[in-house]
């Protein structure tokens, strides 16, 4: 039997991450990266935001918004390096760094969301 390729799984994660980031990320970076720092909108107080983030559903959503986009990045960035810089000979190294980074981020997100506050 031919060895099963892991590529379809990686592509699915890439695709899921693409959808999640397309929907959620522009508004998030606009709020936290631009609107709050520039004072266009007043940032929520600690009480309010911590209650929101500690809510189980928010934790679940945040988990999804962290994990899938990380694998989206890993996959896309990997092929950007391949195609853009034509460094196919570094295949293994790049794959390990990209997917390894995404795995590390996944563990970190899980740890942080589990131990909030």
């Amino acid at each position: 039997m031919a060895r099963r390729s892991i590529e379809p799984l990686l592509w699915s994660l890439f695709s899921a991450g693409g959808v999640v980031s397309a929907f959620f990320m522009p508004v998030l970076i606009f709020l936290f990266g631009i609107a709050f720092p520039l004072g266009l909108i007043e940032a929520p107080g600690f009480q309010s935001i911590s209650e929101l983030i500690k809510h189980p559903i928010t934790r679940l959503v945040l988990m999804v918004v962290c994990i899938f986009p990380l694998f989206h990045w890993a996959h896309r960035f990997r092929f950007t390096l391949y195609d853009g810089l034509q460094i196919k000979h570094l295949n293994e190294v790049i794959a390990v760094v990209c997917y390894g980074g995404a795995l590390f981020g996944t563990v970190l997100a899980g740890y942080l969301l589990w131990n909030i506050g």
């Binding site: 998030l28 970076i29 990266g33 009480q47 911590s50 983030i53 986009p69 960035f77 853009g84």
Partner: protein
């Protein structure tokens, strides 16, 4: 007449014209492709910002420190760039939907915009929802 035949152990490699490392600067389409792919860096960066936010939920001072850190000018500039790339990602991603699937209604193929439109509507609704929950809390 017999030609002498030589066999090689491996399949011969075809000649390929070497491509410049900077091939993607040659045309706007290519550059746009690479810029779209690079939007993934903004995606990863947003995850980092989120993880730092979650980490700052320890106490009020940590959250204040996080907001303070976000106010540094270089970060605002960086985030503005990230926003542009994220918007680029969102728009190109949604516009891919009609390429990925041909939706048919009563035997007729729906036009591209009709397949992409629901994505944009859902995006607006979800974004408004995020703003609502972040500002008003639960």
């Amino acid at each position: 007449m017999k030609q002498p035949v030589t066999y090689t152990l491996y399949h011969p490699k075809w000649y390929r014209r070497p491509m410049s490392t900077y091939w993607w600067t040659k045309r706007w389409r290519y550059l746009r492709f690479i810029l779209r792919e690079l939007s993934s860096i903004s995606v990863a960066w947003t995850v980092i910002l989120l993880l730092l936010l979650i980490n700052s939920m320890g106490d009020e001072a940590m959250y204040a420190g996080y907001l303070d850190w976000l106010q540094s000018p270089w970060l605002v500039v960086l985030n503005a760039f990230a926003l542009v790339f994220l918007l680029f990602h969102t728009v190109t991603w949604f516009n891919l939907a009609p390429r990925a699937m041909a939706v048919r209604l009563r035997g007729k193929r729906l036009p591209d915009w009709a397949v992409a439109a629901p994505n944009f509507i859902a995006w607006a609704v979800l974004s408004a929802g995020v703003v609502w929950f972040v500002l008003k809390g639960v």
